[in-house]
Amino acid sequence: MSGARSRPTCRRRLAASLGLVACVLWAVVVGLRTPVALAEAGPPSAPASSNEPSADAGVATSSSSAGRMPSEEDVPSEWLPPGSKASPVPSEEIFPPQTIAIRFDHAAHLGLGVKPKLACPTCHGKALSSDSARDRLLPNPVVTCDPCHGTSHRDLEQVRPGSAADGQCPSCHLGKDAGRDGLVTRFVLPRPNLRNSHRKHLARNIGCAQCHGSVEKIGLGTRQQLPRMSGCFVCHAMSGPARGEARGPCITCHLVAPGGRLQTTFATGRLVPPPWLHGADHGSGWAIGHRRQAAANSAMCANCHTEQFCGDCHDGKVRPREIHPGDWVSMHPIAARQDNPRCVSCHQLQSFCADCHRRVGVSRDGPSESRLGGRRFHPPAAAWSAAPRGAEHHAWEAQRNLNACVACHSERDCATCHATKGLRGGSGVDPHPPDFDAGSAYARNPRPCLVCHGPNDRALRR
């Protein structure tokens, strides 16, 4: 399937392959890519109702990555929901992008001075009894708009405008020729992907502003006023009696997939932890850095991942390219010497490493047929193993990185010199550190001592 090439041949092949592959990748990345506008829009979100037309071309979608609404304004940070400092925009996976095709000013309405005074429940009364995040909590225009604006939304196929200027369709609705020949642009409000009960929160005296910020001071309410997880943690991360019923497990609020783990795949993307959550930023540095989180809180990982997800790399039978890139077979000795602690996090040295080393002849106890005469993996014996102990002597490398030695050698290789003279068959080269004291080790497991020392060795009685 392959063969060794001379260097010039290899260089020509390398240059040709480089050009070929560059072309292919260019085609992959650029040529086959869908138009930017389509791609940026992402997968379609579920509309508010099945008969809703898509938003007009002139109406921007309210999302963190798209254009701004005509009436959207910069909301001062102090009016945003709690937690907005850590998460300036709400998650698109939890709250998919919306199209809010209306002109509305919360501050102006709440400041009208009408009696009784307007409050959130005046228009969003359904929230008081809502037990599901999927409930529609928008105002019913028949009740909340028509009495003042003189309009009639009773039949949505035959909406009648009011007589005053603020009763005309375009005064509130967007859309080309809204209310005349054209249709008003309808809302696109995908349902949020979480579990929530407004009723329970309100019953515990949690006001609207504690999750939605100061809506009464802003104009149009957009996704900006939707809750942030770090804001939820104000209550859901408390301990003891202060926490009350605000439980902390992720499945308290997040949707659950079969198996009890969180649903992480949505039309708008893949749900990953925010960077601030226990440092679990699943960005481009995560493959290397995730071990600390796994050691500290594997239960958190298990909220989303099965054992097999870990096993695919850590106990997998396919080389993970993210960790071991191309030509790894050639380069792995360098990593084994320079980054060995990471090797043992996935590989058992005596089986995974040494088994292959034995088969290819990079091991003293490998099959005799694979150990070709005259070939030596290590530097010459005069430098590598003979005394006096020079700078290239194996002892230094063994001290720095004993795992690398163990990946190829079995204990017999070491015992040849390091076992005691006589019955144990060694040369008596003491491998112990200065002032060695095994403590109770012999009593707890005498086996390693007996490899190099006879059972009656005086050294074992110390």
Partner: protein, 558 residues
């Protein structure tokens, strides 16, 4: 000879075949529990079946460039899962499930002689090598949130991941969750070990070559280092926080025992290999890890593992994150690591020193779909003594007290077992610690555009010539991309990688590696995915290397 732990050292060369008591007990126990927990009435449980078939073909070259192994691997993984055995599922309410994942990893490139002892070509035999090992990755019955959330359990083959690493055993776990911000976990069973039925060696402690000696007829010769696998009982307890989400900690303790016989002497005595038997420690460790964060401000993570057998801290790590706004995170990490081994291994008692890694890192998200990360730092390898002057000092030190040894030094025929030389060396080792640094750096980037993604990974590992020691370098990176076609029915992926590296362990090991990958993918149905991967790597030392990979993934949920 009477030994601590009630064992015996004998001169007999035969070992008993591994016993199967653990498996014989575990299987009926698991089956009994499954039956006991099975719902009495018909309920609507969710059933999931997954299957992966991975075929790979590639060749492995020896360090001199010649093809020495032809790999023809076929891996098959089958998963069977039944969720919500109790019927209706309510989050945070009592929930039962059963999960099983099995795997066969066959390599048809294995030469028959490599796995068969005593044949005409037994010069290629490698103990423990199996043509098509079958193992159970995990298989357990689990109950969660029982007794108003107080109690949970798992029975069967399962994994534990914490500050002590990744570990697998056949047994049971019980978890008591209290309302006082803490939960208690206790587990016990038999460690999963290679050489036992349906097991792999992945979870064993390092340092011991174990497996079934049945191919060898049980005799240690000619592989006295290849120890017979036997059951290994172990247990552990953990205290874990279960309170405020902003802080989490887990204190954990685990002990594993080795049972059965082991060959001790590596060379025969009167034609026989010494061996011993008895209950003895395999590993005995205590660990703690914690993490805490403040949204928008930063976080801390840290932990350690203390090896009670070796009486040393085998691992410690710490990390600090600081969030500069919502798009930038900077941080620093420190890792301390000392190799430790199974208590059956001799290497615990060899001189070896810690390595310490210190890194600074940064992660930036300039756009919601673009993230960048970078890290840089130094890894410090230590050894007792000064390699450049050690030999001369050793000779000089011996010369003052041992004229005979000095004479040998001058002739460069120093007897390493001379007591005087050894003592001189030990004295020198106490004097100073030599530290060799390696510079390490990584670079990462990811960009997604809805129907595809691109990534860049770069790495630099640079040995610094210090004290005459140069440990090599590896610098390069990989650029990859993946694009959906026809609404995700097809995917096309590709990658380019370029690395420049130098392996100074042997002369002439300095070259540039270049490779590319082409990976088309087809999604014929929601439950199926087929991927092909063609990889072509080349460097001047070994020429061209190819790998062909085919993956079929099936997943059905009812």
């Amino acid at each position: 000879v009477s030994l601590p732990g009630g064992g015996n050292a004998t001169g007999h060369g035969r070992t008993r075949p591994p016993r199967r008591i653990g498996l014989r007990l575990a299987l009926p126990l698991a089956a009994g529990l499954l039956v006991a927990l099975a719902p009495r009435d018909a309920v609507a449980a969710d059933v999931e079946v997954t299957g992966d078939v991975v075929a790979q073909s590639y060749e492995v070259r020896g360090p001199w460039g010649d093809v020495v192994l032809g790999r023809r691997r076929l891996g098959t993984t089958v998963g069977l899962f039944v969720y919500h055995l109790q019927g209706d599922y309510q989050p945070l309410e009592a929930d039962y499930s059963a999960r099983l994942m099995m795997r066969m990893d066959a390599d048809y490139g294995i030469d028959g002689a490599e796995a068969s002892y005593g044949g005409p070509n037994s010069t290629r035999f490698v103990p423990g090598l199996e043509l098509a090992p079958l193992d159970v990755l995990y298989g357990y019955v689990e109950g969660r949130h029982l007794w108003d959330g107080w109690f949970g359990f798992r029975v069967g083959r399962q994994m534990v991941t914490d500050a002590l690493g990744w570990w697998s055993f056949d047994g049971a776990t019980v978890r008591l969750t209290t309302p006082w911000v803490v939960q208690v976990e206790a587990y016990g069973g038999l460690e999963q070990r290679g050489g036992l039925p349906l097991s792999s060696s992945r979870y064993e402690a390092q340092g011991v070559w174990r497996g079934s000696r049945s191919q060898l007829g049980g005799a240690p010769e000619p592989y006295p280092s290849f120890q017979p696998a036997d059951r290994a009982p172990g247990f552990g307890v953990a205290l874990e926080s279960d309170g405020p989400n902003w802080i989490h900690g887990r204190l954990t303790y685990r002990r594993v025992y080795n049972l059965g016989s082991a060959t001790t002497g590596q060379f025969p005595l009167s034609g026989q290999y010494p061996e011993m038997s008895g209950t003895r420690i395999s590993q005995d460790r205590l660990g703690y890890a914690m993490s805490a964060f403040l949204p928008g401000v930063g976080g801390l993570r840290g932990g350690f593992a203390y090896d009670l057998y070796n009486m040393l801290v085998s691992q410690a790590q710490g990390a600090v994150d600081v969030h500069l706004g919502s798009r930038v995170t900077i941080g620093a990490d420190i890792d301390y690591y000392v190799p430790t081994f199974d208590a059956d291994s001799i290497w615990n008692w060899f001189v070896h020193d810690p390595s310490t890694t210190v890194q600074a890192r940064a992660a930036v998200r300039p756009l919601s779909r673009l993230d960048l990360s970078a890290s840089a730092g130094v890894r410090l390898w230590s050894a007792a003594g000064d390699p450049t002057t050690f030999a001369a000092q050793q000779c000089a030190a011996v010369g003052a007290t041992d004229p005979v040894a000095l004479e040998r030094c001058l002739a460069l025929g120093l007897d390493p077992v001379s007591e005087g030389v050894h003592q001189a060396g030990q004295a020198l080792e106490k004097e100073r610690t030599n530290v060799v640094p390696d510079i390490i750096a990584t670079l990462g980037a990811g960009y997604g555009w809805g129907t595809g993604q691109a990534s860049l990974r770069g790495v630099g590992e640079l040995g610094v010539p210090t004290s005459g020691v140069y440990r090599g370098r590896r610098v390069g990176g990989e650029l990859g991309a993946r694009q959906a076609i026809d609404g995700g029915r097809y995917w096309l992926g590709g990658a380019l990688n370029l690395y420049e590296w130098d392996d100074p362990l042997r002369a002439g090991r300095e070259t540039t590696s270049f490779g590319y990958v082409l990976a088309p993918e087809y999604v014929p149905a929601e439950f199926a995915r087929v991927r092909l991967e063609w990889e072509h790597d080349m460097n001047e030392l070994v020429g061209n290397r190819f790998r062909l990979l085919a993956v079929v993934h099936l997943q059905v949920l009812r």
